[in-house]
């Protein structure tokens, strides 16, 4: 559980920093969610292929899940009502996973 907590704290601080660096929380959360989907897709394949279980809790339910946010998207889509933001986040997320997951499967080889 401690590894999930550490990963979540670091992921959330990166998300917060993106919101500070970019003009507002909206693009900050969008960037955090896209980066998080890309990293989680890659880590998933890497850990499955290499049998790495040691860092799983820290990186997946910890860092990647802490970096990304569902509540940030639903809230931003409502106040003020902006369903375009929701669709934008969804479309970019699915494009990202559709690219990163197959590429990771192609290039990350099973360790013999």
């Amino acid at each position: 559980m401690i590894w999930v907590a550490i990963g979540s704290v670091v992921g959330s601080l990166v998300r917060y920093s993106l919101g500070v660096l970019l003009p507002s929380n909206k693009p900050g959360n969008l960037a955090a969610n896209i980066i998080g989907v890309a990293l989680a897709s890659f880590f998933l394949v890497l850990m499955e292929r290499r049998g790495i279980t040691k860092y799983r809790l820290l990186l997946l339910p910890g860092f990647c899940a802490g970096l990304t946010t569902f509540s940030g998207v639903t809230y931003q889509a409502l106040k003020p009502i902006d369903f375009g933001y929701l669709f934008e986040t969804l479309i970019f997320s699915f494009i990202t996973i559709a690219i990163v997951l197959p590429l990771s499967r192609k290039y990350v080889k099973v360790r013999s």
Binding site: S12, C64, S71, L78
Partner: protein, 112 residues
């Protein structure tokens, strides 16, 4: 100082998400745990968003941000689609978004 509030919220939100998700995994392989945390987190962010800057960082950015996850949500849908479990993928996609938006809306209504 703001980073400290974000970190504190995330240190609670991340492990709590993981514990709830693990609990649901005892009963089902379907992503009900993630659905529950994303719904509760959306309600919570709506309910607590109008706050002072420190409380906003603690509750909205830290706790609700880390408690909910976008990366796991997207990966679950994508993997279900790949396995040709189209109904599961579509129910998760539309069910989570509709219920999440309603939960955030309810939180905003109750808070205002």
């Amino acid at each position: 100082m703001n980073l400290l509030f974000v970190a504190l919220g995330a240190a609670v939100g991340g492990p709590l998400r993981y514990a709830i998700d693990q609990y649901f995994h005892k009963f089902t392989s379907k992503p009900f745990g993630i659905f529950v945390v994303n719904t509760l987190g959306s309600f919570f962010i709506g309910f607590t968003y109008v706050n002072t800057k420190h409380l906003h960082d603690l509750f909205a950015v830290g706790f609700a941000g880390a408690f909910t996850t976008w990366s796991t949500f997207i990966i679950d849908i994508y993997l279900a689609w790949e396995l040709k479990r189209y109904k599961d993928a579509l129910i998760n996609l539309f069910g989570s978004l509709i219920v999440g938006l309603l939960a955030a809306y309810l939180g905003i209504l109750l808070a205002s």
